[in-house]
Amino acid sequence: MPRRVLPLALLAAQLAAATTLGGRDPGARAAHLEAELAAARSHRLYLVLDPWTRRLDLKADGLLLRRFQLERALWGRPWLLRGEPAWPAASFALVTEIPEPDRPRIAVGAPSKGVALTAAERRRDELLAQAPTHFRLRFEPGFDLSVRGEAGVDVLPGRFYRARHRLLEGWENVGAWLLRRPLPPRVVVTLPPAEAQRLFLALQPEMRLLVRAPP
C-alpha cells in the first residue's frame, strides 16, 4: 500500500507547489514595477510577460510597441527540478543565442532594377520562413520560456502536433537531470505560428524579460 501512496503523495506535493507559486509575496507587484522602471530607463526593447492575462508585450521606454496575445500560458516546474526556483523574480536576461539566419547572397552585377527588387523581396520572404515556430528561450536567473506556435490548440490534431515538442522537451529534462544540470522553472506559452515567428524576429541579444506579478 505505501508503494502506491508514495507516488500519489509526490504528485499532490508537486501540484500543491504549483498552486502556491505565482508571487504570493505582496511586494511582487512593486518588484515588477521596479524592474520595468529599470528596463524603461535602459532605452532598449524589452518583453513583459503577463501570464494572468495571457499577454506578451514588446515595449520600450514604458511604451507598448506590439502585443502578442497568447492562447495559453502554463507555468510549471519540471518534475526533476533541482535547486531553488527563480520565481517570483521579476526580471530576466535572455542568454539563449539567437541564431544568425542563413542569409541569401545578393548577386553582384547590374541586372535590371525590377528583377533585382523582386529577388530582394523573395530573399526577405525566405528569411521570414526561416524563423521557427517552436523555440525555447533560456533566461538568467534560471528561467525558461517555451514558445509554441500552434494553430488549433484545443483540437485533437493540435494536441498530436504538440506532442512531439513535449516529447523533445521531456527528454531534454531527463538529459539535464542525468547530467546533474539545474532545471529552471518554465512558462510555456502557445500562440499562432505566425505570431511565434514574429516574436522570434523581435528577439535581441540579452533582451530583458519581465514577468508580471499577480494583479
Binding site: T19, W75, R105, N173, Q204
Partner: protein, 228 residues
C-alpha cells in the same frame, strides 16, 4: 540399403508454428508498448504540475486601489515615455506609425531592409542589409537630401568604387526629406513607390511622399524612433 517402408511422421506445420509465434508476437507487442510508454513518459512528466496561470488566484482583490508606492512607480515608468510624437516602425510588417502616447496620429506603409548579404568579390568586404531593431533618436533632419553613396552601392551594381567624392553624390534617390537615425540609417523617400510595403531596402526605411512629409513635419531632432 534398407527396404523398410518410410514411416510417416505427424505433420502439423501450422499448429507448430502458431505455438512458437504467439509468444514471440506477444512479447514483441508488449516490448513495443513498453518502449513507447518509456518514450512518452518524459513528455508527460515534463508537464506534471504545470498549471494554467489564469487559475492562480490573485493576491490583491479586484478593484482594490494600488498602494501609494505602486502608483509612484507607475508614474515613474510613464515619465520615461516620450511626451511628444514618436515614430514606431514595424520592420517585419513594413508599417510605420506616428504616435503620441497611445494615440496613432498616422499609419503609413513603408519599406525596410531585405536582410540579404552582399560580398565584394574583390576585397571580401561584406554588408548585411537589415533594418536594425531597437530604440533610436532622430539625429538630423534634412530637406532635399543628397545621398552620398557608400561603397556597397557601387559593389552591388558591379561598378568600380570612385575615388572622386563628387561621383558619390545622388540628389534624387532619397526624396524630399530625410531623417537621420545614425549609423547610416535614414527614413527617407523613394523613387520606387510601387514597392512600398515590401522589404526591399538596404536597411533604411522608405516612405511615400505624403507620409514622409507628415512624419518630417511632426518630428524634431531628438524624436524617438522605435524599430521592432
Amino acid at each position: 540399403m534398407s527396404t523398410a517402408p518410410l514411416r510417416r511422421l505427424p505433420y502439423a506445420p501450422y499448429a507448430g508454428a502458431q505455438s512458437v509465434r504467439e509468444p514471440r508476437l506477444r512479447r514483441f507487442l508488449l516490448g513495443a508498448a513498453a518502449a513507447l510508454a518509456l518514450l512518452l513518459l518524459p513528455a508527460w512528466l515534463g508537464h506534471v504540475g504545470y498549471r494554467d496561470l489564469t487559475e492562480v488566484r490573485p493576491v490583491q482583490a479586484p478593484g482594490e486601489p494600488p498602494p501609494a508606492e505602486l502608483r509612484r512607480l507607475e508614474r515613474a515608468i510613464a515619465r520615461e515615455a516620450p511626451r511628444g510624437p514618436y515614430v514606431a516602425v514595424d520592420v517585419v510588417g513594413n508599417r510605420l506609425y506616428l504616435r503620441r502616447g497611445k494615440e496613432v496620429l498616422r499609419e503609413a506603409v513603408c519599406s525596410t531592409g531585405t536582410g540579404g548579404l552582399l560580398e565584394d568579390p574583390a576585397s571580401g568586404r561584406r554588408w548585411i542589409f537589415d533594418t536594425p531593431r531597437g530604440a533610436r533618436h532622430v539625429l538630423d533632419r534634412r530637406r532635399d537630401p543628397v545621398w552620398k553613396k557608400p561603397d556597397w552601392a557601387f559593389v552591388e551594381e558591379g561598378l568600380p568604387i570612385p575615388s572622386d567624392p563628387r561621383a558619390r553624390l545622388d540628389p534624387y534617390s532619397l526624396g524630399d526629406y530625410a531623417l537621420d537615425l545614425g549609423d547610416g540609417y535614414l527614413i527617407h523617400g523613394t523613387l520606387y513607390q510601387r514597392l512600398l510595403g515590401r522589404s526591399v531596402t538596404h536597411g533604411c526605411v522608405r516612405l511615400g511622399d505624403q507620409d514622409l512629409e507628415a512624419v518630417f513635419r511632426a518630428t524634431r531632432v531628438g524624436t524617438r524612433v522605435y524599430l521592432y
